[in-house]
């Protein structure tokens, strides 16, 4: 079954420290993966996606097919990065489309 696992429910770092939010997936095939972010009192929004190879707000994520991982990284965390982060696997099959989300990691960046 296709699923996404985020092993850390909570992650706390100090401002300026590196941060890595872990995401592992289970998928038969070549996956695409997304990271979504939800800041306090805001709606869920797309942060970045593997296919774009982009860096958004200093965050990057590399797909590692050997380890079935798509960890989100930032070298120097900022207080404004504090938020809920969700890793998501888009599935399109049999005329259906959906996102399969992990349970999320709450990142707190302390001053």
């Amino acid at each position: 079954a296709q699923r996404v696992t985020q092993p850390e429910k909570l992650l706390s770092v100090f401002k300026g420290a590196p941060v890595e939010l872990k995401c592992n997936y289970s998928y038969s095939g070549s996956p695409e993966l997304f990271w979504y972010v939800q800041y306090s009192r805001q709606r869920l929004q797309l942060l970045l996606r593997h296919i774009s190879r982009e860096s958004i707000k200093g965050f990057t994520a590399d797909l590692n097919k050997g380890e079935t991982s798509f960890h989100l990284k930032k070298p120097f965390a900022q207080e404004e990065d504090s938020a809920m982060y969700y890793c998501a696997l888009p599935l399109t099959q049999g005329g259906s489309e959906k996102l399969v989300f992990g349970k999320g990691t709450k990142l707190t960046v302390n001053p």
Binding site: E32, R43, Q45, I51, G95, S96, F101, K103
Partner: protein, 116 residues
């Protein structure tokens, strides 16, 4: 322009009551999704519409849940005879071209349903 809107933002229902949750997607968006997010969990897929056609309802937890999008724009998620386990945030999302790797899915603010 306006994003995805949902109403009501908060709903308290007594167990056994019926509720209706509304989603207004971004104008012109073809695809519309409903997700359920229980406390401390990630969003879980409920159902998917392409225009007015409901192409997947495999995520609806029981036959008490029903969704429609009759004119291919506004959608309503209806829950009949609500139970306490239905308490969750219900998220609506829309996309201009379906769940493509290149087109973003835009989420609404959610409706928080509390069943007492």
């Amino acid at each position: 322009g306006a994003g995805v809107s949902q109403s009501p933002r908060y709903k308290v229902a007594k167990r056994g009551q019926d509720v209706a949750l509304r989603c207004d997607p971004i104008s012109g968006h073809v695809s519309l999704f409903w997700y359920q997010q229980a406390l401390g969990q990630g969003p879980e897929f409920l159902t998917y519409f392409q225009n007015e056609a409901q192409l997947d309802k495999s995520g609806l937890p029981s036959d008490r849940f029903f969704a429609e999008r009759p004119e291919g724009s506004v959608s309503t998620l209806k829950i009949q005879r609500t139970q306490q386990e239905d308490s969750a945030v219900y998220l609506c999302a829309s996309s201009s071209q379906g769940l493509s790797l290149y087109y973003e899915q835009y989420f609404g603010p959610g409706t928080r349903l509390t069943v007492t």
